[in-house]
């Protein structure tokens, strides 16, 4: 704090000044936080809806599993910034279209979740599936009332990874001009000439981490509510 007294301008550029920066730009930052949150969550939900049939197919038809995993694995290796830039021309959208980021992130979520769904379905014990078939469940009924509920723990673990990684990828979209917490990094960079100015960058990191923690906890909580049978062992 002595240094701060010596040089007022460096006090405000201290990394620890991020809270002050937040208070000064509250409404803008909260707006970005909100956008950031739904940009992280919606693609995971849409991705799961697409991954469910794909994962089911690659489990149902064994020969589909290896190519499906290779393709989705390859999708994941496309650098996110490249995908953000490529989505508008490929789909005929304008640059900075509001759908640009959700579409790109949905691709990543699908890539991650197809494997998760297939492996989740594979985690259902064979005798459980046999019993369901033998008592007269149709294939659809078995899938929705037995296989998917039993696969919830595996699928939920995948959802957590997808959601948290989306939080970080949304921020990258911010650096190409889309409005979310990533903007804070761009601002920090712009304000860092000629001397480094950290508060917006640190604020961006802090808000991203907090957002990831909150979303992760929500999924964890929902999973626990959906799988009371998983805790039954402890209650013995």
């Amino acid at each position: 704090m002595i240094a701060a007294a010596d040089s007022p301008s460096s006090a405000s550029s201290s990394p620890w000044h991020f809270f002050g920066y937040f208070m000064d730009h509250r409404s803008e930052d909260l707006g970005w936080l909100w956008t950031h949150a739904w940009l992280s969550v919606v693609p995971v939900i849409v991705g799961l809806l697409i991954a469910l049939p794909l994962g089911w197919l690659s489990r149902r038809y064994g020969w589909l599993y290896p190519p499906m995993m290779s393709i989705t694995g390859l999708l994941y290796t496309i650098p996110s910034i490249a995908l953000f830039v490529l989505v508008p021309p490929l789909l005929g959208l304008s640059s900075l279209d509001p759908l640009q980021v959700p579409i790109a992130l949905t691709v990543y979520s699908v890539a991650l979740l197809v494997r998760v769904v297939a492996d989740g379905l594979a985690s259902v014990p064979d005798e459980v599936n046999q019993a369901a078939t033998a008592i007269g469940y149709t294939r659809a009924r078995r899938l929705f009332t037995v296989e998917l509920p039993v696969a919830v723990p595996v699928i939920a673990a995948g959802l957590r990874v997808a959601t948290v990684s989306n939080v970080s990828m949304v921020a990258i979209a911010g650096t190409i001009g889309l409005s979310n917490l990533g903007q804070l990094f761009q601002i920090g960079k712009d304000l860092s000439t000629p001397t480094a100015y950290y508060p917006p960058i640190v604020l961006g990191i802090v808000l991203c981490v907090l957002l990831a923690l909150v979303l992760d906890s929500v999924i964890l909580l929902l999973t626990r509510l959906a799988t009371p049978w998983r805790r039954a062992v402890a209650a013995r």
């Binding site: 014990p125 005798e127 459980v128 019993a131 008592i135 007269g136 469940y137 509920p149 039993v150 799988t227």
Partner: protein, 368 residues
Amino acid sequence: MIRFEAASKTYPDGTIAVDALDLVAPSGQITVLVGPSGCGKTTSLRMINRMIDATGGRILLDDQDIGKVEPAELRRGIGYVIQHAGLFPHRTIIDNIASVPIMLGRKKKQARADAMELLERVGLDQKFAHRYPVQLSGGQQQRVGVARALAADPPVMLMDEPFSAVDPVVREQLQDEFLRLQGELGKTIVFVTHDIDEAIKLGDQVAVLRVGGRLAQMATPAELLSNPIDDFVANFVGRDRGYRALGFEVVGALPLEPEPTVALSSSFDQAARAAQDGWILVLDDARRPQGWLAVDDGPAPGSEAINPVTLRRGGTVADVDGTYRAVLDAALSSPTGRGVVVDRDGAFAGTINATQVVELIESRGVAS
């Protein structure tokens, strides 16, 4: 009634799992399919509910060709129990049992109430109702599996090695209760096992299958033991089949000998005076045998009473309605050579020795 008419299963690679099987499982009876690994017994079982479709011949269920029935529809009328029970891990015990009735459109409340009754019927306390499968032992899970198969009261039950994965003591309990339950319910049951002893214990009739899915012999257990059709069946049925066959014939009138007895509450002196050849049989207040007392063992330390610790309790006890095997075993396992026989209430009736039992066996004529 289930009738296999030259039913076959050939896989695309040419493997023949079941080869032109002709077999009838009569209504209300237990038909056991038994045989070594690869004999097609499980495949045959699964062909009945179309978990596996026959590639040749046909299977009739009450004169209806099952190949013409929608599989899911067919299975709802057939209970199915498998080796590890296959309970739904995410459903409570009560909801596991109620699965089929609820699928069939019964009201949840009613289905659960019925499931509660079934839970008791298969010998499980109602306190298990709201637990999850993982909280139950293997034997308990298997009981739930049976209850789930029974829940919609299907006329037919298929059981695929249902008792193989539990320890021998529990297995025997489950077998006994299964027989008791079948005595009440009279289902048409097809039961698969690799264990010939289980087949003989449970089956009204036993079908022995050879590797390659061919029927070697179909007979009642007693007939199988006394009259195996060829070397394969004889070897499979086992060496001590002569002795085991005795387990299917009730002796009838037993020439019982009287035996001096004392109550457990008697003094050691009273017991010693009544003893015969240095041994005395000790009974409880309901006259149930407690064990043999050897006079040489002396009284309980520092008292005049019978020492319960030295009672020889190892001998088996035969019922007056027992089989030759049970009576012979009682004689052979008794430390005095005198086998203890009890009446229907478990009260002491008399003794019989091994020589007498063997005479009875020899005079009974040719095994039926």
